[in-house]
């Protein structure tokens, strides 16, 4: 048996934990650059506010009560996410973090001692007591069914946020699957959902009743696995250690359009720096560094987007090598006269060690004591005491992400901790 625990309206709920004045208020959280809505509290959902609506549209609208709006405070969300996972780990033997606000929990061997629903309610209570965040818990014999149960626990409030689909109650499972639209099934999505519709499959139960061999022939082996999982056969196991990454991408939309080369170069420098730091966090070396730039595809101006990559002879994770390669890639695709909206750096072709055969005509011999220097760099930057960075990134760039309605970093910065009057 598996459980899927997810935090209700995660970003909006994090914003409320340290703001008792917002308890029953509609709260929304905006995406990067304060673009569109990515989280809504239940009060905001009740006002009919939809996900993905651009902020500038919503700003003009009138609501019976004022909307409380926040920019994304990723420092706060990461800290609260970590606390949420720790609380699950205190009550479960095996936990897989699936996303910032979702975890799979193994319930193996638990059914003999406690009813699954009682356990789900205990998890819910435990997380709420320690974090102030409310979770929903769906349980089932496979991860896909756990996910379906969690979907249903959100859809029907009478379950109180906890629902178990067990083998001893197959009718309940059938009933629920017959009500779940097929594109809501874990791993299906809108595109495959549409194709399934053309075969007359509109709900999860119909998909579950399909012949797995037919699905494999007409779709793929992944969807075949989904069919088996919907029938209670656990095909996807818990991944406690996430597999080593094959690619690292660091990209962002700019707070304003960039027209000057120097500014774009600063941005690329910063993303290269961040990507190199992530690469070291993954304990990998890379051999290929790619850079992409693009203008906004939505505006009326002419569109330009391009990507270039550089190969390094010796696998590296030295920020200096990665910045140098990224800049030379940028120089190949930069064209004057466009208003750039987004850029990014991608690292590919990883190896776990920096070992490789040296060549006689190598242009970039390995740098001396690179490992130690990077260690010092990361050590300073992770200490929370201050930051050091490469000068290429500039001092106070004004293309930086816009976060005008940012809340304090309540749990990660001494100057931002909540205050209480005595």
């Amino acid at each position: 048996m598996f459980a899927l625990a997810d935090v209700n309206s995660f970003y909006a709920s994090c914003e409320k934990v340290f703001r008792p004045d917002l308890r029953d208020k509609p709260v929304i959280v905006l995406s990067n650059n304060d673009g569109c809505i990515i989280a809504r509290s239940k009060e905001a959902k009740r006002l009919g506010i939809k996900m993905g609506v651009p902020w500038f549209q919503l700003k003009e609208m009138q609501f019976p009560e004022p909307l409380i709006t926040f920019s994304s405070n990723y420092e706060l969300y990461a800290s609260m996410s970590h606390r949420f996972v720790s609380h699950l780990e205190e009550m479960a033997t095996r936990v897989e973090q699936y996303s910032i606000d979702e975890c799979f929990v193994s319930l193996q061997g638990l059914g003999k001692y406690i009813s699954y629903e009682d356990y789900g309610r205990q998890l819910r209570e435990h997380v709420y007591r320690g974090t102030g965040l409310t979770i929903g818990v769906g349980m089932g014999p496979s991860k896909t069914l756990a996910k379906s149960a969690q979907w249903a626990s959100k859809e029907w409030h009478q379950f109180g946020g906890v629902l178990a689909l067990t083998e001893c109650n197959p009718r309940r499972t059938e009933k629920l699957l017959s009500l779940q639209p097929v594109e809501e099934v874990w791993g299906v999505g809108r595109r495959i959902g549409k194709r399934l519709n053309t075969y007359g499959i509109t709900n999860a139960l119909q998909l579950a009743k399909m012949n797995p061999a037919f699905i494999r022939r007409n779709f793929n082996v992944v969807l075949e696995r989904t069919v088996r999982e919907l029938n209670g056969e656990a095909c996807i196991s818990l991944e406690e250690a996430p597999p080593a990454k094959q690619q690292i991408v660091c990209s962002r939309s700019f707070g304003k359009r960039i027209i000057a080369y120097d500014e774009l170069r600063q941005a690329i420098c910063q993303y290269a720096e961040r990507a190199a730091e992530k690469l070291r966090g993954e304990k990998q070396f890379c051999r290929q560094i790619a850079v992409f730039v693009k203008t906004s595809p939505f505006s009326s101006e002419p569109y330009y987007g391009n990507v270039a990559s550089e190969k390094v002879q010796i696998p590296t994770r030295d920020t200096r090598d990665i910045i140098a390669a990224a800049i030379s890639a940028l120089d190949r695709i930069w064209i004057d006269g466009y208003r750039y909206a987004k850029a990014g750096v991608m690292l590919n072709d990883f190896t776990p060690t920096g070992v490789s055969q040296l060549t006689l005509f190598d242009e970039n011999p390995p740098r001396e004591r690179s490992e130690q220097l990077m260690k010092v760099l990361d050590g300073i930057n992770h200490s929370g005491l201050g930051k050091v960075w490469f000068a290429g990134r500039g001092i106070a760039p004004d293309w930086q992400m816009k976060r005008e309605m940012l809340s304090p970093a309540y749990t990660t910065k001494w100057s931002d901790i909540p205050r209480a009057s005595i």
């Binding site: 102030g132 205050r419 209480a420 005595i422």
Partner: protein, 144 residues
């Protein structure tokens, strides 16, 4: 500059890395304390029972003088702790956090630790406790 360069050993030889043998060759009496080494004391361990449910809160105001809690002190708050009669708690009053002593009998109340302030008797259904203050830190030097 002369035409002939004498090659002499460098004044400061290049840094050379040598392995450090942790097992020392015993030349003399071995340290009698070596087998008793413990890790240093950790203030977190002393103040914090449950890391994942502990939050830090800054105290502002002067209603708690009698227990030695002053404005600017750091409160260590365990949100998962079950609030009991007599606990110092962070309560939510009128949309703000406030630090008071929790009374559960004869009826729920919030008592300041300073006679100049009155005890509050909030509606029991409205009384929300953010967490229990398990310790506080008062700096005597280098505030802030």
């Amino acid at each position: 500059m002369s035409d002939i360069n004498f090659i002499t050993p460098a004044d400061s030889p290049d840094l050379m890395q040598l392995p450090l043998f942790v097992d020392r060759a015993s030349c003399g009496f071995p340290s009698p304390a070596a087998d008793y080494t413990e890790s240093e004391l950790d203030l977190n361990e002393y103040c914090i029972k449950r890391r994942s449910s502990t939050y830090f809160v800054r105290a502002i105001g002067n209603s708690m003088h009698d227990i030695g809690l002053h404005s600017g002190d750091l409160l260590i708050v365990d949100k998962a702790e079950q609030p009991q009669h007599g606990d110092i708690v962070i309560a939510e009053i009128d949309g703000e956090f406030t630090v008071k002593k929790l009374l559960l009998t004869p009826r729920p109340g919030l008592q300041p630790m300073n006679p100049a302030y009155p005890t509050l008797w909030p509606d029991p259904d409205q009384l929300q406790i953010f967490g229990v203050v398990t310790a506080f830190v008062h700096k005597t030097r280098g505030k802030g």
